[in-house]
Each structure stands twice: as C-alpha cells, then as structure tokens.
Subunit: 396 residues, 2 copies
C-alpha cells in the first residue's frame, strides 16, 4: 500500500495534459505550446563556456551551501537591485522549486497555514502537500486587475496557525506586478501578526510598461521576516540548469536551512559553474529579453481582447496571462483542443487554471496562457484559439 500522502498528491496541472499532447503529436499534429514557462530565448554563451573551461578532473560534491563563485554572483546581482545580501545570506538550491520546499519545511509545522493571493502557481500545492501545510487564499480577480484587498480584509484571514504570507511578484499566473503600496501593506500585516514573508521573485526581470519593481528585500524593517525565493531559470532562459537560491538576512533561519541543504549533499557542480559566469553576461541581454517579452505580451493581449467572450486583463509582468473563456469547463476544452480540434493539423496547448485556485469552483472557465514563444508562433496560436472557440460545442 502506497502512502495516502502520495495518493492524495495532485498531479501537476501544467504537465498532466502531456499524455494528450504526446498522442496528438503521434497522430501528426503540430502543437503550439502555450502551457509551460519554458522560454525559447537563447541561453547566454557564458553559461556553457564556463563549463567547458572547467578543468577539474574529478566531478566532486560542491559545498552544500553552493560554490562561492555562484553565491558571490548572486550578491553582485542583488546589489544592482538594491537588495542588500551578503554571501552568508544565500544558499544555492535545485531551482526555485527546492528553495520553496525548503522554505515550507523550515517555516511550517504540520497543519500550519500559509496565506497567499489566488490564483497562484499550482506547483505550490505540491510543496505544501509534502510539508503538510494548508493554504488560506486571498482571492483576487481579473476584473480588479488582481489587486490585493484591504489590510483589514487580509488581517481577518490570519489565524494562530498562520505562519507566513507567500507573494509571487511578478505573479505567475496572473502577470500582476504588486505596487509599492501593496508590498507595504503586506509588510504591515507581517509585522502586526509576526509572520514570515516568502517572496517568490523569480520573474523580477520581467516587468513592463516602466513599472517600478519593489522587493520585500528593500524594506530593512522586515529583514528577519523575509525569505526570497529566486532562480536563474527565467532570467537567463536556463530552466534546465535547476539553479536557484534562498536569500534571507535571518541568521537563525539560514543556519537551520543549511541542515536541509546538507541532507541532500549538494547542487550539481557543473551547473553551478555555468550559472556563476552569467554575471558576465552583457547588460543589454536582460533589457533585450524584456523588450521581446513586452512585445509578445502586446500581441497576446491584443489578440485575446478581440476574441468573442474572452475576458482578461493586461499583464504587466512575468510571461503569463489568466484568461476567462466562454466555455463551461476549461480543462475539458484544453483536452478537446488536443483530441478533437485542428486546422491544417495544428493546434494549441494551454493550461486549465482551476488548480491555480484554492477556493472551490473558482477558475473553472479560466486558462493560463504563457507567452514564452516567439511572435510568429504566438500569432498563429491565437488564430487557432479563436477559431477553436468558434466551433467548440460545450460553450457557456
């Protein structure tokens, strides 16, 4: 008998359509993948060249904390963002995923509670499930541009079991960039209720329209409360590197977090060598990438706006949008796109958004669309989606 824990673990909603996609591909269909956050931008050469130049004869364990060169490169990067971390404040992790798992294990006991805006990144559910943590959602809505409710409304959700607030900024899946006022509102709730703030900022570089990005690490007053979750995956189009980190000025937290890092010995050595050299990437790289995504965002948003019965807001960060479709069940629609629909043997893969909500019933007619693909593909995919909605039988 397997554990109830594993049986009750929900399969990743982002990946569970993969078998349908595989079957469609086998039948000769071309699929435009708008389902995952896998950028098609070239990874900077600095990554691979550093690995090629690495001459150690034995591929040995790295320090459990991460190699000094990589930690220092994060320190240098943070300095540019006015985030004041030293090398002792950083532990390298297997992507943002492990950073999140470590944070859940370190800050919560079984049955404790995390507060977070919904819709939220669905994989959080897996880490919460593994750590035995419950979520209390702060519901936000497309029609309000996913703005946070008032401080009073948030305070009402805090119970003695609430240990932390998790904020993804910019947000996956909504593309929301929290305003300075909203960040300070969360800060006040955290101080008043003595909560940790887990700030997942992996999309920090993906902010558009001249908006200012405010990190919780900018607020010295809450140094001991804040845990930053980070990753090079999106920033440098290096999802396959699995290099992320946890950063916090809370000494006790980091000392304890190190025990978790030691238990799994180390993060892959060569990937750390490659990632450390990204500090030498030309400064224009991130700017050009940002321009490219803003352009894609425009294409996507303009297309969605024109579709009959589709409702979405204009995302100002990350590379996702939550769109409400004129269908009864978005998961069924997403599957139908793969099994029953095509134009000239082409179709689209999108992610049903229901799993991004903790509140029962919300998001059933919504999808998350990622704009990680180039404009040409995106334009084609939007055409396919529009035509599909015209002929889909199970509409609202």
């Amino acid at each position: 008998m397997l554990s109830n824990r594993i049986k009750e673990l929900e399969a990743s909603p982002i990946r569970r359509l993969n078998p349908y996609a595989a079957e469609a591909r086998k039948n000769g269909k071309k699929i435009y993948p708008l389902n995952i956050g896998q950028p098609d931008i070239k990874t900077p050469n600095e990554y691979k060249s550093a690995i090629e130049n690495y001459e150690e004869k034995v591929l040995s364990y790295a320090d459990s904390k991460g190699i000094p060169e990589l930690i220092n490169s994060f320190v240098e990067y943070y300095e540019k963002h006015n985030m004041n971390f030293t090398k002792d404040d950083i532990i390298i992790t297997n992507g943002g995923s492990e950073a999140l798992l470590f944070a859940f294990l370190a800050l919560f006991d079984l049955g404790d509670n995390v507060l977070m805006p919904e819709p939220y990144y669905a994989n959080y559910n897996s880490f919460m499930h593994i750590a035995g943590v419950n979520v209390t959602p702060i519901t936000t809505k497309a029609e309000d541009d996913f703005a946070l409710p008032s401080k009073e409304d948030i305070l009402k959700l805090v119970t003695p079991k609430t240990k932390a607030i998790l904020i993804t900024n910019p947000s996956n899946p909504t593309g929301k960039v929290y305003s300075k006022e909203e960040i300070y509102l969360i800060k006040e709730v955290a101080l008043e209720k003595n909560l940790y703030i887990i700030a997942d900022e992996v999309y920090r570089e993906f902010v558009y329209d001249g908006l200012e990005f405010t990190s919780f690490a900018h607020i010295e007053e809450i140094n001991d409360n804040v845990v930053i979750i980070d990753s090079i995956s999106k920033r440098y189009s290096a999802c396959g590197s699995r290099i992320g980190c946890i950063a916090s000025k809370n000494k006790e937290l980091m000392a304890n977090m190190l025990k978790l890092a030691q238990s799994r010995l180390s993060v892959a050595t060569l990937e750390q060598i490659g990632a450390a050299n990204l500090v030498n990437v030309d400064e224009n790289y991130l700017k050009e990438v940002n321009d490219e995504y803003r352009n894609r965002r425009d294409v996507l948003y303009n297309s969605l706006q024109k579709m009959n019965g589709v409702i979405c807001n204009n995302p100002q960060g990350a590379f996702y949008v939550i769109a409400k479709l004129p269908v009864k069940d978005a998961e069924k629609f997403a599957i139908w796109l793969l099994t029953d629909f095509h134009i000239n043997n082409e179709t689209v893969l999108i992610t049903p958004a229901e799993s991004f909500y903790a509140t029962e019933g919300l998001g059933r007619d919504e999808v998350r669309i990622s704009y990680c693909t180039n404009v040409e593909a995106l334009t084609k995919a939007m055409y396919l989606l529009e035509e599909a909605l015209k002929v889909y039988p199970d509409k609202k």
Copy 2:
C-alpha cells in the same frame, strides 16, 4: 518562530565537523579527509565530452522523468547486472538523495515505520525526519561481521506501522555485502508481512574478494515490493553530477512517484546529457576502479588491525569501515584531531559513528573511515591516526 521540524532536524554528522576542519586549514594544517565518500578517481572523459557536444541553444527543462537517453543507459547498465528494468520502470532523480526522499514520501505516512540494519547511512535520518517516518533498527555488530539476525528475530520487530525494510547493499558505513541467504531472508520477511523493500545499491560496483552481489531486483517474486535506489556518484566518481534514479517494476508506485518528480519539474539537463554518455565508458574502467579500492581497503584494514585497542572487521564492499577506537567519545576525539593534534602540521578528518545508530548509546566509541583517497595519503593518514591514539588523553 521557525518550525519545530527544522529545529529538531539533526545536522549532518558527516558535515558538521567541517567548521573545525575549516579552522584547522586556516591555521595552516593539512588535513587528510577520511570523512566523506568523495572519490579521488578521475571522472570518465565521456561525461564532459557529451556536455561539450550538446548544441541546443536553449537550456530547457528536461522531462520530469529524465531524458530518454539517460533512462535507456540505465536500462542497458541494469541488463549487464541481470536486473530486468525497462524504460518505464525508471525515474531520474537529483542523486540517490532525492530518490530516497521520494521513496520515503511515497511509501510512508506520518508515524509509519521503516526497519533497517544499524549502523546505517546517517543521512537517512534527515529524509525520515522530513517525511515523518520512524526507524526500528535491526542491530548488527562488527564482531558478527554485521550479519543479519535470524528471520524470527527480524519478524519480531515488525509492527502494523512497519511499511518497508531498507537495505543498503553494499553497506555504508559498514562495508558489509549481504549474502544471497540474507537477501532471501529479507525477501521472505517482506512477503510474509507485505512490506516494501527499499534497496539502496549505489555501491553495487564496489564488491571485493570475488564475492557475488545479489540484488533484490534479481528476485522476480518480489517485483512489486522492490524499489531500487541508485546513483552514478560513486560508480563513475561523479558525485557532483547529482544524477541518480529510482527503479521499480511496481507500476502504481512509479505512476505516483512521477507526481513527485513533476512537482520539482526536472533534473539538471546538462548533467543528464553527461551521465547518459557514461554507458560508453570502457568496460575496464569499473574493473580498474574496483581493483584500486580493494587495494586501498587492504591498506586501511591492515593498518587498523595493527593499532592498539582498535577493533574492526574486514569490509568487503563500498569504501567505508566502522572502527571501534579505544576512546570514550569518538566525536570528541574527531574534534580533538582537528583542534589539538598534528604531526608536522598534518592531521586526519574522520566521522563519529554514533549518528549511524538509532539505538541510544551504540557507536559512541566508533568512527566511520572512508577510503576514497589514494594509498599514499591513506598510509599517511593511518600513521597520523595511530600516533594520535597514542597521545589522546581521554582514552577508555
């Protein structure tokens, strides 16, 4: 307030002497590291060359299960060992460490129980702690060559909470290679009590003196019970790759395990590319490595045998030995070696063995010594240990 879970997590006994070692190094001491299982053997060139030849422009997420080339290379490797796994029976993991964590999460609910011979690899404690699993030790002793007790004695330890038996074969830290009879004894207990068998076989290639290695995967009758934990770390001297796997013929288990793999998205892509190419390493490599370790084992064992008051058995596998020292507290002795002892500014780093035991009080006068270093260094280290024991003040 941090979680009780993290505060109660024991720091890795293998790594917690590191600060003393760092201090000693800062003071100019040369340290012979006999504490960790970090081989000094050259990693085969095939690893790095495959990475260098990888030409994809985007370093993207790999499949959560692992890349097909790597999975196939494991299948091919297992065939040579008469282990009948197909590609659907394997999930690639972040080293053996993640494979173990996944196994604990998938097979145990909170408060469930695992049976395992002690002394055992101390890091198991971390994964058990994270998964909320308790251990019931099957005590084995150096004076019996760490042989398993009778079937009746083992059956007595099984309770309704017992879900699995974990066997490390060859064993870290004892170097024990389980006989075919012992493997079949465990098989019978598992069948009689309907238990899973978690078989950590990462040292499979390190068996000496012409002994036959028996894998639980050789016994078709228990296909559904067996979960193999594996890793290329030791086999190919590639600890820094963090490439391991879980292999099992149990379809339901593997389908559920995949959900855990999907939650952390994927394992580092380039490391998988490198590891997949190890299937092309010359067949003599593993044989030569085996000869080298057997030689080191002989040097180590012969030296320890000659030391006054030291008791140990002759390990026939892996690259560790458990040695009983004539000291009251082996941890204090290990620290003293770093802080107070040196000959010509040289000293030794060894691992106190108490954390390898679950039974209170056992192992306090024992250490684990790793023979991952070359014969010259090992000879020097043994000389230092012998001299240290002569002058150590807190002897039994």
